[in-house]
């Protein structure tokens, strides 16, 4: 371990650099992070909170309801990952809603992609 000359001195959670990044984003560390993320999101679901990052109000509600899960989440993931996942939760929800709306209107979802066999 330790390609970086300095690391954090935290005893629990994954080893991180001073900047809050993973020292080693190995499979085990990733699994731990995903687990902490899922626990945090489950708590948000229970409390009916969607956005825990983009608005001041959302951040406060999330901190009050799921403060402990949030701390574990931060401990087990790189800080950039935490932000990414929190934002992704909102984006994924909006995407789901859009797809549902389009399908309810009878439209069809076609993912944009490069020309492949049969489509060109």
């Amino acid at each position: 371990m330790g390609w970086w000359p300095f690391g954090s001195s935290e005893q629990d959670g994954v080893k991180k650099t001073s900047g809050g990044a993973f020292e080693s984003p190995s499979r085990t560390n990733r699994a731990k992070c995903y687990e902490a993320r899922d626990a945090f999101f489950e708590c948000l679901d229970r409390n009916d909170i969607l956005d825990s990052i983009n608005t001041k109000d959302g951040r406060a509600t999330a901190r009050n309801a799921c403060g402990q899960e949030d701390v574990i989440f931060e401990k087990n993931c790189a800080h950039s990952w935490v932000e990414y996942f929190k934002k992704q939760r909102v984006v994924n929800y909006q995407k789901e809603q859009t797809i549902k709306r389009i399908e309810a209107e009878g439209g069809e979802i076609v993912a944009p992609q490069l020309p492949t066999r049969g489509s060109s």
């Binding site: 390609w3 650099t17 900047g19 990952w81 490069l114 066999r117 049969g118």
Partner: protein, 322 residues
């Protein structure tokens, strides 16, 4: 139905005394082959149907005579019955029985099987050819004239610290993926998929594919980091890195969106946005096809294997270091 047949039967009957016994085997052979004739020319079914009944009448007459005379024609008769599954015609004594037997017309089980079989074979062949032409078109389309549109020369280092250039990709197909080890969720999933794809292609086509992962994050992804990182996905994946400018140029050549900050501090925490396509490159280093995230490992492996099978030129089966 009855009257034309009667006419024909009458004609045949009246002709019969004139036909010499020597000519009978010809009639017999004609009758035995008619199933084949019908199966090939279904468009002329009606004409053939009339001919068929005419022939059948002649046959029954001829057969009766064969039985009566016990001539050598009987041997020919047995020998040419290989295609028939119905009741032996020797049982048909009267013209009514012959009509009853031929009520179904020229369509029987043998004709149906041959027809469906031929149609199936033709369909399979044309489908295969159509797919092959489509693949060829994609491969040709993407093969730029002169300067390649995607891909190009680069000089980087692999996870063992050894130099790796675009020349090292030649002679084998390569599957190029851009990623970085600090990627939260998409790259690890895609690299797992890459390992599966690689295994499947190797199983089908042999060792003719190089799985390559080029880091978009040269500041953090040193050869040592890549070595440890990629080991968890597949030991055969070649991890490439370099300095900021080299990586930027390579990304540009492959038309990959590149957003890595140029001057990062040691230990800094950031994410890199990048394109998430697999680029399939042919043994001459030309771009063939991009494989997106919507492909499963199975589908992607099929696309790659099919392109490899289409390749006419030489393919290196040995390792590049061997």
């Amino acid at each position: 139905m009855a009257s034309p047949c009667n006419c024909i039967a009458g004609t045949v009957r009246s002709l019969r005394p004139m036909i010499a016994p020597r000519t009978e085997p010809i009639f017999l052979r004609f009758a035995a082959r008619r199933t084949l004739v019908h199966s090939r020319a279904s468009g002329t079914a009606m004409v053939a149907r009339k001919l068929g009944s005419k022939a059948a009448v002649s046959v029954s007459r001829a057969k009766i005579q064969c039985l009566d005379s016990g001539s050598t024609a009987g041997g020919v008769w047995r020998g040419s019955r290989a295609f028939s599954f119905s009741a032996p015609r020797s049982k048909l004594k009267t013209i009514q029985q012959v009509w009853a037997r031929n009520k179904g017309g020229p369509f029987n089980i043998t004709a149906a099987v041959i027809f469906v079989g031929t149609a199936g074979a033709l369909w399979a062949y044309f489908t295969y050819e159509k797919e092959r032409m489509a693949r060829k078109r994609i491969a040709e389309q993407t093969k730029g004239i002169g300067k390649p549109k995607v891909g190009g020369p680069f000089q980087l280092v692999d996870q063992d610290g050894l130099s790796f250039t675009s020349e090292d990709m030649k002679g084998k197909y390569s599957l190029v993926y851009f990623g970085f080890s600090h990627c939260p969720d998409i790259c690890p999933d895609e690299l797992d998929k890459m390992a599966l794809m690689y295994e499947k292609v190797k199983e089908k086509c042999g060792d003719v594919l190089l799985p390559i992962m080029i880091s978009c994050d040269p500041a953090r992804d040193s050869p040592a980091v890549l070595k440890e990182y990629l080991q968890e996905f597949h030991p055969d994946i070649i991890g490439l890195t370099g300095d900021y400018e080299q990586i930027k140029e390579t990304c540009k050549a492959y038309r990959v969106y590149f957003s890595t900050p140029p001057n990062v501090k040691l230990g800094q925490d950031y994410l890199v946005d990048h394109s998430i396509y697999f680029y399939l490159m042919d043994p001459e280093g030309d771009f063939v096809e991009a494989i997106g995230r919507n492909f499963t490992a199975e589908q992607a492996a099929k696309v790659i294997s099919d392109h490899i099978k289409d390749w006419q030129g030489p393919l290196k089966k040995k390792d590049r270091w061997a």
